[in-house]
Symmetry: C2
DNA sequence: CGCCAGGTTGATTTCGCTCAAGCAATGTGG
DNA sequence: CCACATTGCTTGAGCGAAATCAACCTGGCG
């Protein structure tokens, strides 16, 4: 059972690999499973290679000396972790922690550089991928800098919809929040209590229905509208 | 007088170009000067190519429908603007505005793709560059999400030191803040009044001396210490 | 000159944080 | 099987940092 299955590969930058290179990849790769809560690498560590996420959910978290903490990125199935420090030739600047049980394939830096040298197209696809990641980071930077907690929460629910949303036959949307309130808070630069209150506010306004970690949204348009036109118009 | 002078080129990703490619670049490039305040491209515009900054200072600003606004990146001499949308194949997601009079060279997307195809090393250097930009964006994301206005201002002064700081023979550091209070505020996700007050607080604590847009710092260590050990320890 | 953008300061309000209590769900050991 | 920790979540009360609103100063500049 190869780690880099065709089904996942074709949706990622690894699609650029030739059969020979896929073979090299599969010979060099080391796969293992990680339970939720496990740490994959720690901020400050040298970057030994890439982590390809076959399944699960991982958060990249930054912490400073005073214990202030924020989640700067989420990585889903098909995503790759560690490419930023590998390509920037830096140490890890965040700690990667498993949020939902994961299967992760590690590929060492030397193999990675060999692949990048032998296959320019792989580099181009990474370039495209990292350019999109930069766009998302700048988008979140704008949100945290300029928007209220309530608005940021709505943005987050809409974001999580991509991977954790399902729509029933009658058009109702369910989003399963994949993490604790604490982690949701760290995603948007807030406190867990503020997240609770903001979620309740939004619920009281009839925009969503919350039970545990499941959000039910009847009219997604009303949520999206608030993002575009602001409150109470 | 070629736009891509050797002095600037060698410090940037354009160092990868062969003499032939430099020739192509110089034939295709269109250079002009922009006074402060001028807009280079607007968020939402399709990305027509790259803007290489020969001199000056440019801010990438995001604005939403309600007028909320934040500066998500600064671009200095030698930096390139527009590579993110070009590589991610997206429209511009920010507006580029000249902060300090600039000389900027435009290179069209077709030429750029031709260069990227002919020279894989150029792609690798862009990869390295954009990986660093992502690191900086995530760093600022963390700061805005987790730190106080006062701390963010100190981070900003330390950041601006790289390009706008000079140290006199007696070790005193002068940093020339290159923009208005309003723009400083938009850099850190705050209001101009809050920036004024935070600067005054820091001054009252004897950490810096402020006159107009010039910051004098006698003991840079004390500023850096506050960043690492927090306040009043 | 008068005007205006940039900047500071003050008064007041608001949003979100801190601290603290309480509750439900889950786990653990006797 | 039950007493009890533990963890995640919510809610409340009070507080504080920063936003808002507004006045006023300053130095260009037409």
């Amino acid at each position: 059972m190869p780690c880099l299955s065709a089904r996942i590969r074709t949706k990622t930058e690894w699609d650029a690999l030739t059969p020979d290179e896929i073979d090299l990849f599969n010979r060099k790769v080391v796969c293992r499973t990680y339970p939720a809560g496990q740490v994959i690498f720690v901020q400050g560590d040298p970057c030994k290679g890439l982590y390809f996420i076959e399944d699960g959910l991982i958060a990249a978290r930054k912490v400073d000396e005073e214990g202030q903490s924020a989640i700067v990125r989420l990585a889903y199935q098909g995503d790759t972790l560690g490419y930023r420090p590998l390509l920037a030739k830096e140490n890890h600047r965040a700690t990667a922690e498993v949020i939902k049980d994961a299967k992760i394939c590690f590929i060492g830096a030397p193999t990675m550089h060999r692949l990048l040298r032998s296959n320019p197209r792989l580099g181009m696809l990474f370039l495209e991928h990292i350019a999109q990641a930069l766009g998302e980071a700048e988008e979140r930077l704008f949100q945290v800098a300029a928007l209220s907690v309530r608005t940021r929460i709505i943005h987050l629910v809409v974001l999580l919809r991509d991977h954790y949303g399902t729509t029933t036959s009658d058009g109702t949307l369910f989003v399963e929040l994949p993490m604790t309130r604490r982690d949701l808070a760290e995603m948007i630069g807030a406190r867990p209590e503020s997240v609770s209150r903001a979620l309740r506010d939004i619920q009281d306004d009839g925009l969503m229905d919350l039970s545990g970690r499941t959000v039910r949204v009847d009219q997604i348009d009303r949520l999206i509208d608030e993002l575009h036109h602001g409150l109470h118009i």
